[in-house]
Amino acid sequence: MLGSGLIQGLAVTAKNLVGSFHDPARYTNVEYPEVKTKLPEAYRNFPFLVTESASDPMGTLRCVACQICEKECPPQCIYIEKSKDKKPDATGKMQLFPAVFDIDTSVCMSCQICVEVCPFDAIKMDQVFEVATTSRFEALLLNRNQLAKPNTYYHSIHPTEAAEVDGRLAAERKAAEEKAKAAAAAKAAAAAAPKSATAAASATPPSTTPTPKPPAAPSAEAPKPPTPAA
């Protein structure tokens, strides 16, 4: 019968209209700014730098300024400058740290490649999305102070992944400690046997800087080429 298809279609819309008042499957809207949906754990948007402690973020950055992420970043939005001196990292080894670490979030496409290539678990994906600003360049260029977020924050946004990373780092730290212990034992043994003392001493890694210096003063990285206009 001509028109039966139309009537059938109208029945569907009527079912949806009525259903939207009592069936949550037919009314799926969320009134966004007032109500927010829960983000899935895997959600990613913009990278951040992981620090061990919340009180001393610049002293405990996991990043060692190896510049792998800078090289691999497809849109080239990461800018790193290595420090002149070294500080101990999570495993107690003396490492460089980034004197400058900038991410231009107006260019960043949140592809997560920096996170995948990082061998130190130092850069992870954030979950921020309400990041609108009023200036195009300056406010979206984040320096290392803005990028640094503590490990506890990482645990709060990606709990499963963070626990796995922490487990792996703890294992590495333990292995490093055991290695150091073994090296110390070897040294002691070498001291006991004076003949091989020189050989053992040269085998231990030489430390370039005996005391870790504090990172560069924050004032050194604040100004940007065009001074921020109001």
Binding site: L6, G9, T28, P40, R44, E72, I113
Partner: protein, 390 residues
Amino acid sequence: MSISDLSPLGAQGGSHVRAVHDEFHGDLLEVSMGPHHPSTHGVFRMIVTLDGETIVKLKPVFGYLHRNHEKLGENTSYLGSMPYTDRLDYLCSMTNNWAYAIAVEKLAGQPVPERAEYVRVILAEITRLLNHTCLAGFLMQDLGCSGTPLMYAFREREKILDLFESLSGSRMMCNYQRFGGCRVDPSADWLEGAKQLTDGYGQFLDEFEALLTGNEIIMARTQGTGVLSPELAVAAGVTGPMLRATGVNYDLRKTDAYGVYPRFDFRVPLGAHGDVYDRYMVRVLEMRESIKILQQALAGIPAGPIMDPKAKLRGFRPKAGEAYGRIEGPKGEIGFYLVSDGSPNPYRYRVRAPSFINLTILEDMCLGQTVADAVIILGSVDIVLGEVDR
């Protein structure tokens, strides 16, 4: 009254509407539809010459979204191009990723573990559901069914995007496939979610079809509109649902038998007339077949590694050579042609974009039809301008 009377600048001065004098046909009108026209699905322009309401000539104008994607691909590493492929056809990032991964794997001779192949099939078929559902919604919007079918389609799309987000971290720019596997192993919870979606999708399709398929107005508008002959479709390189709607049985899932598709039992729906209605119906039937594939894949997915242990993420340098890899994307054959000279970046990186090639026969389908039909013919081609202009 002609269109030139409606132009705010009149017949003389209008930049987008111009009268063309021809001694045989009287006044022909040249109308520029787009690039900023709601019916063109983005920034696409058609220069249409009209005799009254009838189209006598149609010239597509491309390039408004051109960003030289291929040059970008030559300037970044193989891995670095993966997130850019998301941005080609931004509705189907999972299949774009797969097509690129399959081309690079061919180039480097990289094997893929079985579980990853299953995950790829699952994601590709979910992408097909997503694309075809959206397309049906957009097509109805072009026909003038403002809102309702599109909103129903987007309600379902949201469920799929939530699945993608919980697996890859992003709703549309998934960046999920890697050379030699996939980035994250889907958890049992995720697979359960995909199973629920698959089981519920048939019911949604029943409802969607009850709304649209039998509708007399849709039939009257779309049957016999924009007819494409199988001979022309083959000669012009048209692929995907557009080709199958003309009755040519050609589906790369069957012919190339890539991935683990030969293990699944599914059929290839074919059209008979090659008109807009057939293109719509072929897509709806394809979704039903996709559900069948999904049910088999989700039931049979094996345990095991998701990445080949020898696959390299950094310092990936395939040795010199070239490869053309292609898969059956939701829009047609999406292929990547790569030439390597042994360096970390591809020497040549070419995208064979299905919607670009399907669009080249637009004029042949539109000749003799009315302006309003040109809009739905364009809608039935299923274009995404990010891919057309690259």
